[in-house]
């Protein structure tokens, strides 16, 4: 038991270190500009006064390490600074939208994870059957689609007929039931995009194991194929499957950006696109940090979970 806690502790430390480096990269990226940020944002025609005012506002007069330290300590206390476009505190802008985005990602995860595991196990079970080939070809096709293509097909097909709304409005009065209904199309789009990948990987992970001696043994005992897969293959394939699921959930985080724009969903992704268009750098930095942290955390979780399900992994290197 202590081994597991030590491993989790190590991974957590590593995660914190990764986050620290990410924050350095996200902050330091602005330093890559040849000139200074204020001139880049205001263009060549800016007067010295406006430049000085903007520099003052962005704190550009301080040396970079001091600015980084101020930014980092602010972020740790939940203060991301002030948006350049709207002059409002970023934490206020981000707050409500973060919840919406998490809701959409969780919604899509709740649909896609069971679906893809089921399809993957079935495809592995009926290997080389018509079902397997068809689902494989279909999955490969869907992986190759841009998210907005899937989204517009769904709109044309399901929203045109009036079954589901193609735009998501969230007000204070929206109940969870309404939200589940109105966010169905964006969630379905994300589901389709990630299910294909997860299903293929689940199938591959199980088929990889089917050649092992203990599977052969189970088969020779006269076990039914279903039982062989469920009792012997799936538990041993859990580690790669968990990794794939986490990878795809992490992918959901970036996938929401495009999908939110298509469905006018009031989430972080749309806020980020607006901020990029306005070159509102503090907002973009804040959201990039949030997305990247979620990504790191999910990978961390996957690492810990897959080690717990397969103790052999604990003794690697």
């Amino acid at each position: 038991m202590t081994g597991i806690w030590r491993m989790i502790g190590q991974r957590l430390l590593l995660g914190v270190l990764t986050l620290f480096i990410i924050s350095l990269v996200i902050f330091g990226a602005t330093e890559l500009l040849p000139g200074d940020l204020a001139r880049e944002l205001l263009g060549q025609s800016a007067t010295e006064e406006t430049l000085a005012a903007l520099r003052e506002q962005l704190g550009l007069n301080e040396p970079a390490p001091v600015r980084y330290w101020n930014w980092l300590t602010g972020v740790l206390q939940g203060d991301f600074g002030v948006s350049m476009a709207t002059q409002r505190p970023i934490s206020e802008l981000v707050g409500a939208r973060l919840g919406n985005t998490l809701f959409l990602a969780l919604y899509a995860a709740a649909l896609s994870v069971p679906l893809s595991l089921l399809l993957g196990v079935l495809a592995a079970l009926w290997r080389n059957s018509v079902f397997d080939r068809a689902s494989n070809a279909l999955a490969l096709t869907v992986i190759s689609f841009p998210e907005f293509f899937v989204a517009y097909i769904l709109i044309l097909w399901l929203a045109q007929t009036g079954l589901f709304p193609s735009m998501v409005r969230i007000t204070g009065a929206t109940t969870t039931g309404d939200l589940l209904y109105s966010a169905f199309l964006p969630a379905l789009t994300l589901t389709l995009v990630v299910t294909a990948h997860m299903m293929r990987m689940t199938r591959a992970a199980i088929i990889n194991l089917m050649a092992s001696p203990y599977i052969e043994m189970a088969r020779l005992k006269g076990m039914s194929p279903m039982r062989v897969v469920l009792r012997h293959a799936v538990p041993n394939a859990l580690a790669p499957i968990i990794n794939v699921v986490a990878l795809n959930l992490a992918y959901l985080i970036t996938g929401v950006v495009v999908v939110e724009v298509v469905f006018v969903y009031p989430g972080l992704g749309q806020l980020m696109i607006d901020a990029v268009t306005n070159r509102d750098i503090p907002v973009v930095q804040a959201i990039a940090l949030i997305f990247a942290s979620a990504y790191v955390l999910l990978n961390l979780l996957a690492d810990v979970l897959s080690t717990v399900t397969n103790p052999r992994l604990m003794h690697r290197t």
Partner: protein, 304 residues
């Protein structure tokens, strides 16, 4: 109902294209390569045919296209009728013409970006594997840190800082994707640099550049070629996504991603015109994926 019919027609058509392409390839291939095409799956021959068609359209765009790329010809959103076979867009430009030019612009830019990412990533990756030591460690840890940030998010951050233009788009996406290529190239090359023939070449006194070009690259070609195909798909999709979001290729340049965005309102009237550029993106990505899948199967010798 119409959806079902079009799906069936589409599947039938691709089946026929696949069969025809396979027959043509078998006949045209020199005897030495014929076995490769003999047991080629239909999906792969379909993919090859589609890729070829895109290349032809991209190269011959000015000859095939009925009108000029940015020409405003009439009312906006005209229905599908001659002479505008696919109607017009929101500024009254011919949709078919812009689709054809899109093949040149979108695919061309994606290809240039992939090539750039590939040259940078592969050269650095192989060089790191060859050099080893602190150079390798430093570079690899840097790449690890950059890869911990999701690709799309990192590209958005860089585009905010450097501004959005086609050149920055190419450079940003190439930089982000080069980290992924670097990872693969380094791990492939690491398996090769420990081989005896590398040792022998070193003892002959060959320089690093010669080692990379004559000894390592030829042996790393198969995985790198497959990676090139996959990388192209990623780059193509991210450029299209960014253009769709209004941050990539800017009008009046005809580009499939921004064409979807410009004409998206038509969807709400049940018009499928905006799906055409999106479909063009999807079709090419599917085709490349099919071919890569086939090559990977062949390379691994897997006959499931």
């Amino acid at each position: 109902m119409t959806v079902l019919v079009s799906v069936i027609v589409g599947l039938g058509l691709s089946f026929v294209i696949g069969l025809a392409a396979r027959a043509a390839l078998r006949a045209a291939a020199p005897a030495r390569h014929r076995p490769m095409f003999r047991d080629m799956p239909l999906t792969a021959s379909f993919g090859l045919a589609v890729i070829l068609a895109y290349v032809v359209v991209a190269v011959l765009a000015p000859v095939i296209a009925p009108f000029g790329e940015g020409e405003v010809l009439g009312d906006q959103y005209l229905p599908w009728a001659a002479p505008h076979y696919l109607g017009t867009d929101k500024l009254g430009r011919d949709m078919l013409t812009r689709l054809i030019y899109g093949a040149r612009n979108t695919v061309g830019i994606a290809f240039a970006t992939t090539a750039l990412a590939f040259v940078a990533g592969a050269v650095l990756g192989i060089w790191a594997a060859l050099a080893g030591g602190w150079m390798d460690q430093g570079l690899s840890r840097l790449v690890d840190a950059l890869m911990a940030i999701p690709a799309l998010i990192f590209s958005l951050l860089l585009l905010t800082i450097f501004g959005t233009s086609v050149l920055t788009l190419i450079l940003v996406i190439a930089a982000v994707d080069a980290t992924r290529v670097y990872r693969l190239a380094r791990s492939v090359a690491q398996g090769i640099v420990v081989m005896d023939y590398i040792e022998a070449a070193r003892l002959r006194g060959e320089g690093n550049w010669h080692l990379i070009r004559r000894e390592i690259l030829p042996n790393a070609m198969a995985p790198l070629a497959a990676e090139f195909g996959l990388r192209f798909c990623f780059v193509f999709l991210s450029i299209s996504a960014l253009s769709f979001l209004g941050l990539g290729i800017k009008p009046p340049t005809a580009d499939w991603g921004s064409m979807v965005r410009e004409n998206a309102t038509l969807i709400t009237f049940g018009d499928i015109t905006p799906l055409l550029p999106a479909g063009a993106i999807a079709l090419l990505t599917v085709a490349v994926n099919f071919v890569v899948d086939w090559q990977l199967q062949r390379a691994s010798g897997l006959k499931e």
